[in-house]
Symmetry: C2
Subunit: 215 residues, 2 copies
């Protein structure tokens, strides 16, 4: 009775590759919508519309809204930590160069990409997804801090650094990156700062502190 609209229907995704590609489209769209509205206010109709599929299709790829969110986060946080673990601890480099390499990675692989938004989204929703927060802590935070700590300890061991504060609290070394991440999303619009220059200034300060002669 209803005049059903004749709509072009997308060809069914039969191969595994097509399936993965469509899933990625859905995750990308979901990130957009979740970032804009937050988890609770994001409407699956909007996610579907942005992905160019019908709402029902979402449920062929993901069993619930919460699972969609989790898949989105999981797909974003897996990669780069492993890459950093591979590349940064170059034994021929000085501790300073290792630290700079790590910050370069941070800037190019996270702060300068969509992963930044995923991290921000995760931070914002973390208290509502304690399980996910724990995964993030275990897979990203712990591993990241372990790298930092090993760099700092190596710096102390080879006489390059005179202070052990970073070995004790590696959080202090990445704190400015967190500021950068949040500032970008919240205040950059009406009070822009030069993130790169800020992180450079941080490294300068940090090196002075770690290497400086005690007065």
């Amino acid at each position: 009775m209803t005049a059903r609209q004749r709509t072009k229907r997308r060809a069914p995704a039969r191969s595994e590759d097509e399936r993965q590609a469509k899933l990625q489209t859905i995750l990308d769209s979901a990130l957009d919508i979740f970032l804009e509205k937050g988890f609770a206010d994001a409407r699956l109709d909007d996610v579907a519309a942005r992905a160019g599929v019908a709402k029902g299709t979402l449920y062929l790829y993901v069993p619930s809204k919460q699972a969609l969110f989790e898949a989105l986060v999981q797909s974003g946080i897996g990669g780069p930590v492993g890459a950093i673990e591979q590349k940064v601890p170059d034994p021929s480099a000085s501790a300073e160069d290792q630290l700079r390499a790590l910050f370069y990675f941070l800037r190019t692989e996270i702060l300068g990409t969509r992963r930044r938004d995923i991290v921000r989204l995760l931070l914002m929703e973390a208290s509502r997804f304690p399980e996910l927060a724990e995964v993030y802590h275990r897979e990203v935070i712990v591993r990241g801090l372990r790298i930092l700590r090993s760099i700092a300890e190596r710096g102390v061991a080879r006489g390059e650094f005179r202070s052990d504060e970073i070995a004790r609290f590696p959080q202090l070394a990445i704190a400015p990156a967190l500021v950068a991440l949040l500032w970008t999303s919240l205040f950059q619009r009406f009070d822009p700062i030069d993130i790169e220059a800020m992180l450079e200034a941080h490294l300068t300060l940090l090196m002075k502190a770690l290497k400086g002669h005690p007065s």
Copy 2:
């Protein structure tokens, strides 16, 4: 509607104090619920129940859910910045002591109180309340950074500090406090760190960096 009605008989008119006290109860309850569920998932029935009133009563104190959230934030961020502006720039103190005084304030007046949760809530919801984010930026961030910058500039001017990085990016000085705030809410439960010791280590590093002799 705004003018006081002329009445022959007075009803049990609650005093202004009682009214304020009840409003505060409602705001406290709202903070609990908002922290637990986030703005969107917080139910006004729960807020009312926790405050020990009926839902309708909320609307005698606040015109909408959003206004409730805003009132809550506003009531929490007004005070301490002004207090810091008064106390910290003691001209008889060294720049280092001023900085330490500021961190003492930060610990005792924000990180150690309920205000910490308000700030976290605000950070989490800020992208959904751009107007509120702007207020917070103007009333807290800008003023806080101004204090930091003036301390740093004074330190340089009187020869106490040799670096100007903090004057250029005062964000770097408070970055660890942000880490402390987020860590407390997200990870402290299963990976506790000694916040106070971390901030102390930060100040130690910062002083080394600012005062240290150039190599």
